[in-house]
Amino acid sequence: EPEVTQTPSHQVTQMGQEVILRCVPISNHLYFYWYRQILGQKVEFLVSFYNNEISEKSEIFDDQFSVERPDGSNFTLKIRSTKLEDSAMYFCASRDSTRYNEQFFGPGTRLTVL
């Protein structure tokens, strides 16, 4: 069965550095998402993306964050200047428009900001 993939699985960075988290959604999916989960907490929505533009973003998704679909397969989340509190697991998800609105999640990228 097709799956969402994410790279890297673990990223360690220094505070203030830029990071790019990469995702390859399922190929025929049209809607893309980023969520984050701080250790021990609930999963929180960051942003959704459809038709090459952001369709919704949460209050967490401030100017430090951006998303891009640079080609037909990748979907990236960029954090411009990381802070300690950005340390979390970041999940990418995708869905098509027909399958009962199920979002398929990638395995996640663990981001550690030192």
Binding site: V43, S48, R110
Partner: protein
């Protein structure tokens, strides 16, 4: 806005027994979907079961079933014949296509299946 609440931070069950995880939600939408996701120690999010709000019949997937009480806004997950591999964090989540495309998650319930 949608909210999802899971009031049981931790639960445990003996192997082969049945356990029920609770979830309540709040939404003003008429058209919405409810999900249970499983997150094992690998932290992968795996869909366990889904329920369309317009369907009265409770969803079932093998050993997993839900008790969907629309008027009470309750959506509990029952796991029958619990297995050691069921040990995981379980998240209840809601989705409404009319008020945005996000999934809203509950706080999670850590389920431990004991041998």
């Amino acid at each position: 806005a949608q909210t999802v609440t899971q009031s049981q931070p931790e639960m445990s069950v003996q192997e082969a027994e049945t356990v029920t995880l609770s979830c309540t939600y709040d939404t003003s939408e008429n058209n919405y979907y409810l999900f249970w996701y499983k997150q094992p120690p690998s932290r992968q999010m795996i869909l366990v079961i889904r329920q369309e709000a317009y369907k009265q019949q409770n969803a079932t997937e093998n050993r997993f079933s839900v008790n969907f009480q629309k008027a009470a806004k309750s959506f509990s997950l029952k796991i029958s014949d619990s297995q050691l591999g069921d040990t995981a964090m379980y998240f209840c989540a809601s989705f409404s296509g009319t008020s945005g495309s996000r999934l809203t998650f509950g706080e999670g319930t850590q389920l431990t299946v004991n041998p």
